[in-house]
Each structure stands twice: as C-alpha cells, then as structure tokens.
Symmetry: D2
Subunit: 294 residues, 4 copies
C-alpha cells in the first residue's frame, strides 16, 4: 500500500466540508491533518457535526494556521474531470464546478460538442435539495418553511448560469445563452436537471448514443437505457451520475434528465475524484459507495 | 339563510373525495346525503378517513344506490370556471379539469389568447405532490420510495397533455403541441408549473399585465407583483392560485410560474366553486380558507 | 349579525401569530386592527408571510404603538378552557397554556382528579413537530438538520414540566413530579403525548370512560373509541384534540395518547376559543375547520 | 488478500435485502452469487431497485433454487453479537434480532445484568422510520398518509415485546414484563428507543459508566458523553449505535436513549457483522461507513 497523503479540509463546518470528511476518513490513502472553520475554531469536530462521534479528528482551527497556498489561485484548473482530465492531472490547484453546472454540463456538453442540438435554445429546469443552500441560518431553509412545499428561486438570475454558458459555449465553439431556473425541493440531498433542447436533425436515440459513447469509460457517469427514468434516490450519498434521454411530444425536441448528489459528485466527491487523479491514485478510490436507498 | 342543498360525493374514499367532504361538511348551504365508495361500502367514513372523527356522516354505499344521472355525461361542460363561467352556470353536469391542466391553463390561456406568446414553443415543467397519484397502493408512492427524492414520470407521454393542448389551441385559434413534463415531489399537496414561452414582441411585464387584467375580478386567482415568487406553501389547503411572471436570461423569452393545491383548486375546491355557481350561491361560499402555513 | 370586535395580534411575525391571523381573518366577529412585530415594523404582512397575499391587513407596527394593557398581567387567568371556563369568562386577561401542557393535561387531569392513577409515577413521552421551536433561526431546525431524523431534547429539564406538574397537582390535591421528555419529529405541525400511568385499581376502560364523561360536552376534545389510535394527522390544522386509552402489557398500567396541532389548539386556536368565551360569542366560532389530511 | 466467499441473499427484493446487497457489493471478501425473491424471479436486480444501476448482479431467482440449508434452523443462535459473540463464532446459522430488540437490548441488558435498575418497571417508548414496515404495499405507509404526521401502533401488543422481555429476563435472571410502545415517524430510516427505568440506588452516571464499560471494546456501540443527545441522524446509513443516559426529574429514575439505523445495525449490517465473525474476517469489514448526514 502506498503511504497516506496528508489532507486538510478548509471550511470543515459546512455541509460540503462535512461530506469531504465523511469520505476522507475512510479513504485508504488519506489522512486528515487539518480542519479549518473560523467561527468554530477550537471546537472538536463532533461538537459541530455529532455524526462524527466515532472518529478521531483534529480540532477545528483558523484557516490562517494552515499552509494552503492562496498564491496558486491564478493557475487553478476547471475541475470537471470528465472533460479536463489531462489538465487536472497536471495541475497544482483545481477549482471544482458548482453542483448545478456539474449536473447540467454532464448532460449537455457531449451533445453540444457533437452539434446534435441547437445551443441557443436550451431550457434547463433545475431542482435541488435544501443542502444546496448550505448550513448558514436562513429563514427559507428552516424545516417549517421548506418542508411540504416547493419554491422557485433566482429565476432568470442564478449565479451559476454564466458558468454553464461558458462551458457549453466552449463545447459548441460559440457564445451561448441558456435558460436556467432552479427550484428548492423538500429533500436534503439531490439535484435533478431537466434540460429541454431543440434537435439539429438528430433523434433522442442519437443523443443517448452520443452520451453513452462519451461516458463509456467513465466510472461514475451512467447513461440510462431507453425508458429508464433517472431519479435522485438512485444516487443519494454516492458519487454517481445518471443521465436519461427522452423524445419530446414536440417534433424535433428532446429532454435530457441528469441526477446527482449535490454534496458528493456535486462537490466533495468530485473534489476527491480530482484529488485521486492529481495524487496518482485510482480515480475511484474511496468513492465507490452505492446510493443509500431507501 | 337559504335552505341547504342535498349533496352526494361519488368516490368518497379517495383523496379528492375526502377533500370534498372536508369542505362540504362546513359549507353553509350543503348537506352531505350520500357518500359512495364501492370497495368500502358499509363502512363508516371515519374508518376510512379517521380525521373525520368529529363529524356525523352517512355510511359509505355503492354508487349504484345513488341516483346520479349518468345519462347527462354527454352534455358535460368543461369546468374551468375562469373561462367557461356562463356555460357552467347553465349546465346540469360539469367535468372539472385535472389538476395539471388547471395550473397550466390558468398561466397560459390569457397570454395565448392575446397572442403574446408563440404557442408552438411552450415548455411546461410541472411538479406535483404525491397526493396527485391518489390513494391506491403503488410502490412508487410509498413514503420510503417517494421521500427524500425526486422523480420525473410520464416524460413525453402524460395523459393530461392533450387536454392542455386542446384549451391552449382554443385560446390561440390554432392547433397546438406543448411539451409537458411532470415530476413527483416529496410533499403531499401542491402543484407548480414552470412554463417557458417565446414572446411575440411582448415583454414579461406585458404578460403580467395581461394576466392581471384577465383575473382582475376572479376571487381565487392572484397575479403576483413583479419579483414575488409563487410557492406551493402559499396555497396549501386553499382554493387560491398564485401566478408570477419573470423575464428570462434569453432575450424574447419569459417564464410563467403558477401554483395551486391539487386537491382543492385542482379538484375538490374547483368542483365546489362550480357547484356554487350552478346552484346560485356566491362562488366563494365555503372556500375562503387561507393556506395552512407552516 | 353582531358587530365585529377590533382585534390586535402581538407578535404577528411568529408562527403562532400567523396562525392567529389565518383564523381571525375568517372569523365572522373579528376585525384585525393591529399587528405588531418589532423587528419587522413597517413591513406589509405578506412580505413576512407570503401566504397572506389575498388579504388586506394592517402593516406591522411596534408593540409600543398598540394599547394592550400590560398592567393587567397580574390578574391573568390560566387559559385551559376545559377546566377554567368560568374564570376565563369573567377574566380581562388570559394566559394560554403551552402546547405541551395542553396536550398532557387534557389527557391526565380528569383521571388524576378521579384518583384513578398514581400521580407520582407518570411518564410523559412527548413528540412535537418543528414549528414548536418557532420561526427564529436555529441550526437544529434547518430542514437539512431536522429532516429525516429524530432528536430528543431538554431531557429531564424542559421548561414546561413545572406547568404540567402544577396542574396535575391541583387536580390530585397534592404535589406531583412527572417525567416529561420531548422529542423533535420531522414534521411541521402536530404534537403527541404518550403518557404512561400506574393504575389505582382501575382499568384502561375506566380511564377511557372517565375521560369521555369529562369531555362529553366539549366541542373540541374527543375521546376515541376503544382500539382507535390517535395520530397527529387527524388534527392537523384544526382545533380538535383526540385522546385514546390503552391497556399496557404490564398489569395495572395504562397508556393515554393525546394529539393536537400545536399551533391551533396548542396556541392560536385555544386563544381564539378563550376570546370567543370572553367576548360572548359561541366558543366554536371561526374554529370548526376539519383537519387538513392528507 | 483472502479469497472471496460466495454469498446468497434470500429475500433480496425487500429493504433489508437491498441494504445487504448495498453493503456486500463493496465488501472486500464477499461475492454475491445468488439473489432470491419469488415474486420477482427472473428480473434483473436494477429493475427492482434502480439504485443498483452501476452493479453487475445475478438475476433474481426462486429461493427453492438456492441451497440454503433449512435443516439448520433448529440450531440457530441468537445473533446479538455484543452478548453472544462466542456462540455466534461457533454457529452454522444465526438468527438476527429485530431492529427494535437490538435498540432496546443494547440500552438495557448491561444495566439489567448489573442489577442497577428495577427490571419490572421499564417503559420503552420506541420510534421508527417507515422502512421498518417494509416494502409491501400498505395504506398507512404511503407518503401522503405517513408524511407530516406521527402515529403510535401496536400499543401494548407489538410482536417484538416478548423477544425484548426474554433477553432482559436472561440478563436479570428472572422473568420480566416490559412496556414497549412503538410509533411511526415520518422518516425513512432510523430508530430511537427512549427507555424509562427505576434505579436500584444507582445514579444515571452509574448507568452510563456501566454501559461504557460493557461496550469498551465494541467497534459499533458508542456510549455518549454526559449531556450529549443521541439522534437518529448520527447513525443514518451506518452500523453504529449511540446510547445516552440522563437523570430524570423524578428521583431514583433515569432515561436511556439509544439510536440505530434499522436497516443496518438493526438488520443487514448486523447480519454482515455476524457473517464476518463466522467466516473469520475482522468484524468491521465492509461496515465502517460513517453516517450520511445531512
């Protein structure tokens, strides 16, 4: 076995930080050496997240006390590993995509690159569990507010839209504007993008075949067989992504549905997959848990 | 006070039937005389729905024992009261729209009729609570299956699509095909349609103004002020509908969001509103409960 | 019709205040004249609670601007109407019991008073929905923390215990100490107390009969028939209480289960029931809504 | 590495079967060779549980086709590994306890054995998530019935009571009757027992110390420090148990709270822990996942 690498988690008191700790604590090649969280500095991790009661972890500390190389930020590589694997392998710093861009881009980039869809007529109706809003105290994420209800938010203005447009633009070779409308769903984890696209002569089956080919060797991205409906339950707590393609009632249109767990493949799991690649471990190391269902 | 009318509820063991009973039992002009439910015939209503423990209700009986005029079915009027008020007032039988068509049509008919949108390029992304699937025993509506998760269903094939197309077609004066994609949300009540439309030169503000004008005198349909986001929590358990209009990132496109409670304005409440009109009572009688939030 | 009474709601930005507004806005003899909420003073009520979009309500104001007679506090009467009806009818100020004491005392006072149970050996295992913790921002009431989980809290130390002990003591004619252990349940509304008692020679049937007799004329307290299990779903959104009594496996012990909606009979509804009595209206005025199920 | 053992899962279409597959598929010493489920025989596992889309698994088959030694049933050993480790290590067949007995017995057996509590005066108020009721189609486990509500069930009559009494009786050396009252909680996974006990002169601290000593070397049973409240969120999806002890308001009484995941330590995980012991693997193999929170 290779020696363990020393790992620090910056921002360990948030949900993404906690999920990174959950995964790294059982990663065979990782040793958690530092956890930072300025407002909780000095506390034990299981005071902040009691579900870590069984672990020996370093106490939380200020981020200033950790040597984490802010001077590298200028050379950060975009961490969507399915499309930037070589750059990431050679990088010293990787900036992971947000959860929404990950879900949307995995569904759309291969078919935009193959010119199968009209990239100027894409509607992405996105739905996210409440952890997507973080652990900060906000009225709209209280149980009694978000439970038993469904709310759109940031309609027409979500900060993730430009990131999605940039990468679809790179794939298509032209500037792109997309509709991206997120909704808050009464569940903790999970994200689903329903993407509506106009076809350039192709069929829904062509799209599915192109996606299947693009992800043929990807360990975590699965294209569902015709007729199988992706649902967030299938990926809860896991690093997997599931994508399905469906013909629309309207001729010459198709629907691409992608699901992931926003805290795993949408953030902490994706970061560890990148870390594995950068450190020379198999990409799947420590990430093969199957979805927790039910 | 006017005398009470004798009312029968056919199908009283389903969720829509139960919500009709909930409302009719406190309706000042209604007296429930018969409840039918073939598989439960002979039972007391509070054996089937224990939340009626405080009511005196007739026992459930077979529908054959109730005189309910099946021969009238041929003359049924489409019961979307906001658009067919005069016909309903004169009708002997009314067929209420489904919950999805109600939510979609209230958002789209006035702006289709006013030619503000391109009716051949409408995407309706619909989300519904689990009661929409009824009380029948199905695996996908078990708590452990539908909870903490989100599933699309009937993608491209939902049975409500033709009903939506028919009425938008009537409004626009031409045949129409729409995209309609429903999703199952982990909540019991509530329905939200996010409708994406291409504009015929109009702005989002124009759409909002047209909707506000169309519903100016409607007691239950409210068009939200600019910037206010409809959410299902605002109408839970009530007969109200809330509609909001938003400009899209993509030029010349807009987003119309409509919410209702599928068991009230989406079925039982709408039926009682029609009943009030047909029997000469004020339309709002027995229907003015405010949403139960939180 | 009698003239409407002018009503002020102090603390209108909390969940209890909102439920009072929900009920008072449809109360035939009430007119809401003032709403106070210091941190939100100046706002429209539907900015604070968007589900009131259909109502015309006064703007929120500071409580100092409302004439609400703090000098009366010394003469406040304990507002458990089922046991203090005469005093409340004559009172100028009523202090309503907490939600937990209401649920526990309605289950236990009549059988303590009748000496059917050993009042020094009562275990009350209480379960509450998350609205019981209020609308204030706390980490443990975030959706992602309270959802899909179950937490005991204030074990052995809950502030409602002395109030419960005081009133059972009054009923029994002796000082009493009870166990009271609350748990936070992943639902918004509802409260259930499972009370375990040692019998003084009586049977579970005797307890049920005593409770049924005590509440024979009460409009909102129903004692369930033998074998019927109370559940919070049966009273959600309503002012009703349901109580069931069960024999224990252990000889000479019984279990009394009581349910209510903490925001209605546990607070706002109970307050309005008291108000009705004090102002000379029928007690049930504006409070007869049936539970919202499902 | 040791060679993989060939494993069959009987009843693979239920929730416990599925969780066994989830864990065994990533167990380094297990190879799943057979999955039985009579009503689904012939299907692929991911038709029955779509979250297994990424696994290669044998098709479901009838149990008659698997050689599983029913003749061993007479010699089955009670599989509560913390108390029967030696017998299990030597056994050919182990019968795992139910989820409720596991949660209750881990909290009570060591303190009953040490004569710290009066075993004839124990009240166990139990709360379970909905998966405890299985995947069969029942009305009361539909999302719209079990959601946003709380129901007691089998009050005084639950089939797990005799199993709990038997083992506490063994520990105490005398016949025992306990109160055991289960409640259905609107969450999928998790079980919490609040056990109320009368003390034989001991203090709550003595109980905590006795439990801590009993489980000092146990990999999965953790006794919480004084003041730390166990909650089901802390063990969701994991094989861990957390136990807390609290002084009661009533002198000479204490409260013991235990939590586990009913599908893991309460069934599939416990079975695999026993399997590891029987086959000579470290007990923790394949079972060290940390709780999925949030």
């Amino acid at each position: 076995m290779s020696a363990k690498k020393k790992i620090g988690v910056l921002g360990a008191s948030g949900y993404t930080g906690a999920d990174a700790v959950r995964l790294l604590a059982r990663h065979p090649n990782a040793e958690i050496l530092a956890l930072t969280a300025n407002t909780h500095a000095g506390k034990a991790m299981d005071e902040v997240f009691p579900h870590f009661f069984m672990l020996e972890l370093p106490r939380l500390t200020e981020w200033e006390k950790v040597d984490w190389a802010p001077q590298l930020q200028g050379e950060a590589v975009y961490g969507l590993i399915e499309f930037y694997r070589e750059k990431i392998a050679a990088a010293r710093l990787v900036a992971c995509p947000g959860c929404y861009p990950t879900a949307a881009l995995l569904a759309l980039v291969p078919i935009a690159r193959a010119k199968l869809i009209d990239v100027n007529d894409i509607v992405i109706d996105a739905k996210s569990g409440v952890t997507g809003a973080g652990r900060g105290l906000k009225q709209n994420t209280l149980f009694s507010e978000a439970g038993e209800g469904l709310s759109p938010y940031s309609v027409g203005t979500h900060r993730h839209s430009p990131e999605i447009e940039q990468e679809i633009g790179v794939a298509a070779g032209s500037a792109v504007t997309v509709n991206f409308t997120p909704h808050l769903i009464p569940m903790s984890r999970g994200e689903l993008c329903t993407s509506y696209a106009k076809l350039n002569g192709a069929s829904a089956d062509d799209l599915r075949a192109a996606l299947a080919e693009a992800y043929r060797n990807e360990p975590f991205v699965h294209v569902a067989k015709k007729g199988v409906l992706p649902q967030t339950q299938n990926v809860r707590g896991s690093n997997y992504v599931q994508i399905g393609v469906f013909a629309d009632r309207i001729k010459n249109r198709a629907i691409v549905i992608s699901v992931l767990d926003n805290l795993v493949k949408g953030s902490a799991g994706q970061a560890i997959q990148n870390m594995n690649l950068m450190l020379g471990f198999p990409e799947t190391t420590g990430l093969e848990q199957i979805a927790l269902f039910p």
